[in-house]
């Protein structure tokens, strides 16, 4: 299918997804379930990668600060800026695109090939809205928290690494963390996080929803979903950065 056709299909798909839920209570319960599945279950991986990335960023910065004129607190400063600006939004977004994206695409795809989606339709349920709307809401709601968590854990990782290797002293590091903070950068990153959350849920849902065939195609759709949502995240990152930081 051509690229343009796919875009058109995706827009029509979203139109079906964003229609009024059948039952408010059921919708709400679905959202809670999805928050758990997409959000709480991702805390582990976000914490692990953030700690390590924070640690590596601080050590790299420390070992590159050979010029004695550059102050030590730059290490804390750089770690914080990297986490806030790019790492906790974009890299975490990419990692979640892999984890959450493949999960969603295969879940919805296997519902499609085992006719569970047809079963919903035949009951008179709008399957796209019932299955996918709650996922999008849940991710848009929970991912900003994951972002904040990632920033804090990343900085903590940097602090820990600096302390353990003796690269920088704790007071220097902490001074750097608080140095020259521009709150707008956080807003900028949170906006990115929201957009990424939308991509991570809607694109894999789209690929899963239109699977036809069997288990093999579900696997293929899941791969496509991850690759394409990752590309879209990078593209959105570029565009949003141009718009928001100009």
């Amino acid at each position: 299918m051509s690229f343009v056709e796919n875009i058109g299909k995706y827009v029509l798909f979203l139109n079906r997804v964003f229609s009024k839920p059948e039952r408010g209570r059921v919708f709400f319960e679905q959202i809670i379930k999805e928050i758990y599945k997409l959000g709480v279950n991702s805390v582990g991986i976000v914490v692990i990668i953030s700690v390590f990335m924070g640690a590596v960023i601080s050590l790299q910065t420390a070992y590159n600060l050979v010029n004695p004129l550059l102050p030590d607190y730059l290490v804390g400063y750089t770690t914080r800026e990297s986490m806030i600006l790019e790492f906790s939004s974009t890299i975490v977004g990419l990692i979640l695109a892999g984890k959450v994206g493949s999960n969603i695409a295969s879940e919805i795809g296997s519902m499609r090939v085992t006719e569970q989606i047809d079963a919903l339709e035949i009951m008179g349920v709008n399957s796209a809205s019932y299955l996918i709307f709650p996922k999008i809401i849940a991710a848009v709601f929970i991912n900003p928290f994951l972002y904040v968590l990632s920033v804090f854990v990343g900085i903590a990782g940097g602090l820990l690494a600096s302390y353990m290797t003796g690269a920088v002293s704790i007071p220097d590091f902490l001074y750097g963390v608080q140095f020259g903070l521009i709150p707008y950068y956080i807003t900028y990153s949170l906006i990115k996080t929201l957009v990424f959350a939308f991509i991570i849920t809607s694109v894999p849902s789209f690929y899963g929803y239109y699977v036809s065939g069997g288990a093999l195609e579900v696997g293929r759709a899941s791969t496509k979903a991850v690759v394409n949502s990752s590309i879209l995240i990078l593209l959105a990152n570029l565009i949003l950065t141009q718009i928001l930081l100009k």
Partner: protein, 250 residues
């Protein structure tokens, strides 16, 4: 009552159904039979609107389903129950939750009534202990029965079953056939069943539509099927040695 008027359906260049007309009555088990690939599933899915037909009309009572808007279709779907060829139970929900699902979505019953209704339907299909299990944890025959329970939970006027007893042992197969027939009589439903199982045909074939390569080749009842002159139907019915033998002895 469901009536089909000159139904045609093709996928690209492939004509799957040509000019099918028939009337399925309420309170009867209506069977669609035919060889694998003859178009049974496509016909059933066209009747319920999962496929759009190319031309022709489908009437539910006197309502023309083919001309309905999306909204009208949604309404009429609340009167339909469908048992898919593979069961199509929701695998993230337990047996009980599967059967309960249509109630949670569409009924105004209170909690106690819902529970009672779910229990009633599961009892009806003889599922006694598996309420808390997931579809993956029960046998194929049980899945089919749970799917039937889910299909009837909202008291549908129209019940559709795509090969409800394929892959089951002869005893369970007949139990399921009989069950569907009983429910059909009990609630005066219009039931349409796809099958290529001659046992089902003999047990519950009150009205039978035989399709051959997408064309209606014969219609009648199980009493008439042995005497047919139709060559294609004869080949289908007397494919097995068992039925050849029966024919000789008759």
């Amino acid at each position: 009552m469901i009536e089909l008027n000159n139904i045609n359906k093709s996928f690209g260049d492939l004509d799957v159904l040509s000019d099918i007309s028939i009337k399925f009555e309420a309170g009867k088990t209506n069977l669609i039979i035919g060889q694998s690939g003859s178009g049974k599933t496509v016909l059933l899915k066209s009747i319920i609107g999962l496929h759009d037909v190319d031309n022709g009309h489908i009437y539910y009572g006197d309502r023309d389903f083919t001309n309905m808007s999306f909204k009208e279709r949604k309404l009429i779907r609340k009167e339909m129950g469908m048992v898919f060829q593979g069961g199509a139970l929701f695998d993230s929900l337990t047996v009980e939750e599967n059967v309960r699902f249509p109630l949670d979505m569409f009924s105004d019953m209170n909690e106690d009534d819902r529970r009672a209704r779910v229990k009633f339907c599961l009892d009806r299909v003889d599922i006694k202990k598996a309420h808390k299990l997931y579809p993956a944890e029960i046998s194929g025959g049980m899945q089919k029965r749970v799917a039937i329970a889910r299909a009837i939970v909202l008291n549908p006027s129209y019940l559709f079953c795509d090969e409800p007893n394929s892959g089951l042992d002869p005893v369970t197969a007949i139990v399921i056939d009989k069950l569907i027939q009983e429910i059909t009589k009990e609630y005066e439903m219009t039931t349409i069943i796809n099958t290529h199982d001659m046992n089902s045909v003999m047990e519950i074939g009150e009205k039978i539509l035989f399709i051959n390569k997408g064309v209606k080749a014969w219609e009648g009842s199980s009493d008439e099927i042995f005497d047919t002159e139709n060559q294609n139907l004869n080949n289908f019915v007397f494919a097995s040695n068992l039925f050849k033998k029966i024919k000789k002895e008759l």
